[in-house]
């Protein structure tokens, strides 16, 4: 069992906690600086409203703790708004330019597929189930970022070091594939730690 932090300031942190628990991990909801003090074996940046999340990260004083987790190089899974929080450039060419951690060399635009009536389900080029909800679109991928999966030619799942970032919502799909890939299941992570 590994302690996996989930940024829980706003958004769909509960479904991630459920998947992590089903894999035998201990989800830790992160809402205050002291929640980031214990050692974390990984971290999830969930979906939600990225502008709200980043604002709350700042006002609750979570930024240094999160930076430390990112610098530690533990496995990280970021979905939708979570990917926006970690991208280098967010809506860079608009009046809505937004601050972000810049941990993954990506440029993204928020709500890149349109409003909620344009939210959709489909499958990726590699057959992953894709649920897009007012999803961001990746418009530039840095040289150090690996494209793991695409949808109609566009990157939707990328990896940069220990960070896996998706524009879709694996936590809302059936199955635990991506969480298992990033964090392992409890037995596997216990043997890996020994």
């Amino acid at each position: 069992m590994a302690r996996i932090g989930i940024l829980a300031v706003q958004g769909a942190f509960a479904p991630h906690a459920q998947v992590l628990r089903s894999l035998g991990h201990e989800p830790v909801l992160l809402r205050a600086p002291e929640h980031l003090e214990g050692p974390l074996a990984g971290m999830v940046f969930p979906g939600g409203e990225s502008s709200v999340q980043i604002d709350l990260v700042a006002r609750l004083g979570l930024e240094p703790g999160i930076r430390a987790v990112l610098d530690a190089g533990v496995p990280v899974l970021a979905t939708c708004a979570g990917l926006i929080l970690l991208a280098r450039d967010v809506d860079a060419d608009s009046a809505h330019r937004q601050w972000s951690f810049g941990a993954v060399d990506l440029a993204v635009v928020r709500n890149g597929w349109g409003r909620q009536v344009d939210s959709f389900e489909d499958a990726s080029e590699q057959g992953r189930p894709l649920i897009f909800i007012r999803a961001p679109r990746i418009v530039r991928v840095g040289p150090a970022v690996e494209i793991v999966d695409r949808y109609r030619g566009e990157p939707v799942l990328v990896r940069a070091g220990a960070i896996m970032a998706a524009t879709f919502h694996p936590e809302l799909s059936e199955g635990d594939g991506l969480h298992r890939e990033v964090f392992g299941a409890a037995a596997a992570s216990a043997s890996a730690a020994q």
């Binding site: 479904p15 809402r31 709500n111 939210s119 649920i131 007012r134």
Partner: protein, 293 residues
């Protein structure tokens, strides 16, 4: 590519968890709400306390106002239609609002039937006072519920009553035998399959947020402690003395609802709350929560 599936509709409701949805009457208020940390705004012509005061028939908003708000902010924009008024709902859908609130705050258009929400591309949120009402709305296709409370009063007592009732009834279902569920469904006047699902899982199949009477950060935190996954704040923000500050404080309170130190900090120096009304002093006809069935 499948658009507007049950999964994507429910998904947006899930994304709003832990957030505050604020009533706004123009683009300027929408911008203030977004800057304060609202996870969505509800566009309407008059906030509930104004509707209560001015009386008359309250209807869906002017499309021009909704468009102006959509243009002003990046967060989801919701709008209200009258209970049963599916044509108003079709107009809101055509405007591509992100969520339609079939709301008792507006004057009901149909005193018997709610909208059949399954045929819409936009997701719906509906009010409820108890489990039966919640499950009827889900049966009609609502992707999100909010306990009704009593909108436009600044009195939290009804929101608390409805949240507690829902929670108690959900717990009770879990104690019933399989053979008792059909009878219980009849008593609740709710679809048996939904009653069975709640009995098995111990939770509603869609999120439930709180609404109606939230005027302070601690009201919002109280609702979270009673099991609401997010809150709607109507008149409580823009009819208070310092709207941006109060809006920001309520956002912080919904995230830090378990942290009394933090709540004390954000509740400090907010100025006057909205002018409030005690629900117990309202005649039955003046209560919005009893609209709809």
């Amino acid at each position: 590519m499948q658009k507007s599936t049950n999964v994507t509709k429910l998904g947006l409701a899930q994304m709003l968890a832990g957030g505050v949805i604020m009533d706004v009457v123009d683009a300027e208020q929408a911008k203030i709400a977004e800057a304060a940390g609202a996870c969505a705004v509800m566009a309407l012509e008059r906030v509930p306390a104004q509707i209560r005061k001015e009386g008359g028939v309250a209807r869906a908003s002017d499309p021009a106002m909704i468009r102006a708000i959509q243009k002003a902010v990046k967060i989801p924009v919701m709008a209200k239609c009258r209970i049963g008024h599916f044509t108003e709902a079709r107009i809101l859908e055509a405007l591509e609002v992100d969520f339609i609130d079939e709301s008792e705050v507006l004057t009901p258009a149909d005193d018997e039937f709610h909208i059949d929400k399954r045929g819409f591309r936009a997701p719906f949120v509906c009010g409820c006072k108890d489990l039966g009402e919640a499950l009827r709305r889900i049966g009609e296709g609502a992707s999100l519920l909010r306990t009704k409370g009593e909108a436009g009063t600044g009195d939290i007592v009804e929101a608390v009553r409805h949240l507690r009732k829902l929670r108690t009834q959900i717990r009770r279902l879990g104690t019933l035998g399989k053979e008792e569920l059909a009878h219980e469904a009849k008593l609740l006047d709710a679809p048996l399959e939904l009653v069975t699902s709640v009995a098995q899982t111990g939770r509603l199949p869609v999120p439930n947020f709180a609404a109606g009477g939230i005027a302070t950060p601690d009201d919002a935190a109280l609702c979270m402690a009673l099991g609401a996954e997010a809150v709607f704040v109507g008149s409580g923000i823009f009819l208070s003395e310092d709207a941006p500050k109060r809006a920001r404080a309520i956002v912080s309170a919904v995230t830090s609802w378990e942290d009394a130190q933090k709540l004390a900090e954000v509740s400090t120096g907010l100025g006057q709350p909205m002018r409030s009304l005690q629900v117990s002093s309202l005649p039955e006809a003046a209560r919005f929560a009893s609209r709809g069935n």
